[in-house]
């Protein structure tokens, strides 16, 4: 695994939500009502026993607390930082019903899991060798969660990863004010410390291996290859410099040094969570004027309200009900031509104008990679997503899938849950064979 670039730009960001001190964590933990059949557990895709881990913090049994978290979610450290807790566990805390501030579950989880990393507590050992092996395509959250669980069962695991680093979007896609790449990689290292996980980097399918190759090597394979490149908006001027996909842009400044000194104005096109990350990141990287251009109204945006609210606080300008029609500039983009749209998102004649921008970031979605599996017998896709049963099995009995390639792009915690559950299903399948 390569060392991270010491000059990478993401380092200018500090945590948006500060870590708790021990004192703060204990005060907050003591507020928890310790509900039975708690709604926060149901709201967590990985079903962490939240009241139990919080109670353990309150008694200073932090090691036990971390054990409870990792037992359900091996990426509990990154999830504590990147989960949209406002819409998951914290959003369902019963204190909301009472008009009392909900328990800050994410920050408490971070407290316990950070301490586990600091103290180097590892709770799990690999199971006795079963002589069976599983191949995992993609070393992001779903792949890592599956790999770890499979190792606990004693199966050999090989991760096939296209990039030279593991962690997937956790490493190169998460907003750095939530988690920086070095934290993501330290988590990868912690997960890998269970031992027995082989990683092959630089692997693409079908160039490096065919599906038959993988099915020949392993009792089962788990597909966790995520999503494809950013969707482009093909408009006049698309070939100008300074027009970038959001995922590429984020990866670039997270892993490398990025010089934005020439950018006084930037426009991000989109209304989803990637767009909301991008505008906040551009502000944090020092771009003076950052505009979010979205074709619908403010309340139609797909991104989380709490993220947009933070973006507004950070000075992001909004431009709603707009449709881009062309990129303007000579060699280098210097503006985005837009028209206003009506309530049905239809263009309004005579409303064309230009938003000046030396950088245009496209956050209008990522392509789906379903066609990758078109020659894999029995595996079906729908809208480019791999179709699975609840336990992650595809139409091919030895092929399982999870994470963004099946759910179309959800949260890290969904990928972890799907990877873990698929591992359990794989274990059950290959143990019977």
């Amino acid at each position: 695994m390569d060392e991270l670039d010491p000059e990478r730009s993401e380092q200018v960001f500090e945590d948006f939500k500060k870590a708790y001190t021990a004192n703060q964590a204990i005060v907050e933990a003591n507020r928890c009502l310790y509900c039975s059949d708690a709604p926060c557990i149901t709201a967590c895709p990985t079903g962490i026993d939240i009241p139990s881990f919080i109670r353990k913090i309150s008694t200073r049994n932090t090691e036990g607390s971390a054990r409870t978290i990792f037992a359900s979610n091996i990426l509990g450290m990154s999830c504590s930082r990147v989960c949209p807790v406002e819409t998951l566990c914290v959003g369902d805390c019963v204190f909301n019903e009472m008009g009392v501030p909900p328990i800050q579950i994410g920050k408490l989880q971070r407290y316990a899991t950070d301490m586990a990393f600091e103290k180097d507590w590892t709770f799990f050992e690999a199971g006795a060798d079963t002589g069976k092996s599983v191949g995992i395509v993609g070393g992001g959250p779903a792949g890592l969660a599956a790999a770890h669980r499979l190792r606990r069962f004693g199966h050999a695991v090989t991760i096939y990863e296209k990039r030279d680093i593991l962690g997937g979007l956790n490493t190169f896609g998460v907003a750095p004010y939530k988690m920086r790449a070095d934290a993501a990689l330290s988590e990868v290292e912690w997960v890998m410390s269970i031992g027995g996980i082989t990683v092959e980097h630089g692997v693409t399918i079908p160039e490096t291996y065919s599906w038959d190759d993988l099915l020949g090597k392993h009792e089962a394979i788990f597909l966790a290859f995520g999503l494809g490149p950013d969707t482009r908006l093909e408009l006049p001027g698309s070939n100008l410099d300074g027009i970038v996909g959001a995922v590429d842009f984020i990866e670039d400044f997270k892993l490398k040094a990025m010089d934005l000194s020439a950018v006084k104005q930037a426009v991000v096109i989109g209304g989803g969570n990637t767009a909301l990350d991008a505008v906040r990141e551009l502000r944090g990287l020092g771009v003076p004027e950052v505009t979010l251009a979205y074709r619908g109204a403010e309340d139609q945006m797909g991104g989380y309200a709490h993220e947009w609210s933070a973006g507004k606080d950070e000075g992001v300008i909004s431009a709603f009900n707009l449709q881009p029609v062309a990129y303007e500039g000579q060699g280098q983009v210097d503006g985005l031509r837009v028209v206003r749209t009506d309530a049905d998102k239809k263009p309004i004649p005579g409303s064309a104008h230009t938003l000046p921008a030396q950088l245009v970031v496209l956050a209008v979605g990522q392509s789906k990679l379903g066609e990758l599996v078109s020659d894999l017998d029995g595996v079906e896709t729908k809208w480019g997503r791999v179709v699975t049963t609840e336990s992650g099995q595809t139409g091919h009995p030895r092929v399982f899938a999870g994470g963004d390639c099946t759910n179309g792009g959800k949260e890290v915690v969904n990928g972890v849950a799907e990877g873990r559950d698929a591992a359990i299903a794989i274990h059950s399948m290959i143990s019977e064979a």
Partner: protein, 422 residues
């Protein structure tokens, strides 16, 4: 405006709130500041042969992140010279003539009692409190609770004090006894004008689980101390009430033990205390708490149309009965208010694991369902519910006439069928 003045065994004060004999009443400077904040009286830190204290001295119980719910100390009586103490008492009394200033005393021999009582009275003390309660250190020297635990010794020393004293004498009782009543009666026989209770409870407040040394740590040792603070209040309330309702006991009571605010103080007075004494909460929060105590009690008196404290002192005593005299046919069941329930289901698990398995999760939604045919009306759900007023215990008509267990035994009156005894 309600009148908060009280008279406890001949000692009057502008309100019932006295500092107990303890660190907050250690010096004239402190007591005068307390009076400026509004305290009605103070029982001076116990005077006797000045001692040498140890370091450290205090320990506390933490409960859910809150320190000091229970508290203990291994501090002894005054460590300042008697000359200094009496001079400060004199100065304080001169500046604050209307406040109650009581000298707490602890010496051994009859001659010593005679001497120290004279000096206290010469300094201007409005009353004396005989410290027969301290359960640590002093009792090892034959004083404090060593006196309070022996009714005959208690009576004898009390009678000495009464022989020498011209001002009222209160006897401070120790709770480290099986039954408080014989000890209150002993003080009464000795001629006491009133009793103060409770002193602290013999205790070990905790153990440092890393060093194995009990707390508070004095190097690598500790000793049993005196337990106090909010957590002891129920014990104190019971002992106050046990004396207040005893037919032979008829002298005033100054109530002490875990009083933190006006509500606690009101409870002590309803169970028969004429004045109340506070230490731990002042140690934790400062003299300033008395402002709320005064305002709160005045507001409560207005709400209940009481003009004077006499109108409510002891008012709860008729409601305190033996178990055998409770109405065994009185029946309540829990009702959950669906409007205010937040769905935490803490009542469900409490009832299932700790009571009679009669509160169940709803089939739809999170508002639990009470099976009234099984509910014994124990209150546990109401106690654990985080929403004030959400769970209420409602009386149900069961058709059985009120009957006590004693009446059932003696007169054969019918008793309702048991619930939850499957």
């Amino acid at each position: 405006m309600p009148d908060l003045t009280i008279n406890c065994g001949g000692i009057s004060s502008p309100n019932p709130f006295w500092l107990a004999s303890a660190p907050p009443a250690n010096s004239g400077e402190q007591v005068q500041r307390a009076f400026d904040h509004g305290w009605g009286g103070a029982v001076w830190k116990t005077l006797g042969q000045p001692i040498q204290n140890v370091s450290s001295r205090f320990g506390a119980i933490d409960w859910q992140g809150r320190s000091g719910v229970g508290f203990n100390n291994i501090e002894l009586i005054t460590d300042r010279s008697l000359d200094v103490n009496f001079r400060e008492i004199y100065e304080t009394k001169r500046k604050y003539p209307k406040h109650a200033l009581i000298a707490s005393l602890m010496v051994e021999t009859r001659e010593e009692w005679k001497e120290i009582i004279k000096r206290a009275e010469d300094a201007g003390a409005d009353g004396l409190e005989l410290n027969f309660g301290c359960p640590h250190g002093m009792c090892e020297r034959g004083m404090g609770s060593a006196v309070g635990q022996e009714p005959a010794v208690n009576e004898r020393i009390t009678s000495w004090a009464k022989e020498f004293a011209n001002v009222p004498v209160l006897v401070k009782l120790t709770p480290n006894v099986g039954d408080i009543v014989p000890h209150g009666l002993a003080a009464q026989r000795g001629g006491a004008d009133g009793v103060s209770l409770i002193n602290t409870i013999k205790s070990i407040i905790g153990v440092d689980i890393d060093t194995f040394v009990p707390k508070p740590m004095v190097g690598n040792r500790s000793s049993n101390g005196g337990y106090c603070g909010a957590a002891v209040r129920p014990i104190a309330l019971h002992m106050v009430a046990a004396l207040a309702r005893d037919r032979q006991f008829n002298i005033p009571i100054s109530g002490i033990g875990g009083i933190t605010n006006w509500r606690d103080a009101t409870e002590f007075m309803l169970l028969g205390s004429s004045s109340v004494q506070v230490c731990t909460e002042v140690m934790l929060k400062g003299y300033r708490i008395v402002e709320d105590m005064i305002e709160g009690m005045e507001g409560w008196m207005r709400d209940h149309d009481f003009q004077t404290t006499d109108q409510f002192i002891g008012k709860s005593i008729p409601h305190y009965a033996d178990w055998g005299d409770l109405d065994i046919n009185f029946e309540t069941v829990a009702k959950i208010n669906a409007e205010t329930c937040i769905g935490c289901q803490v009542c469900v698990v409490a009832c299932h694991d700790g009571a009679h398995q009669c509160i169940h999760p709803a089939e739809v939604g999170r508002i639990p369902v009470v099976d009234e045919s099984e509910c014994v009306g124990c209150n546990l759900c109401q106690i654990v519910c985080p929403v004030e007023g959400c769970i209420t215990m409602e009386e149900v008509e069961n058709g059985f006439a009120p009957t006590t267990w004693n009446e059932h035994l003696n007169e054969g009156k019918p008793v309702r069928p048991k619930k939850g005894a499957h």
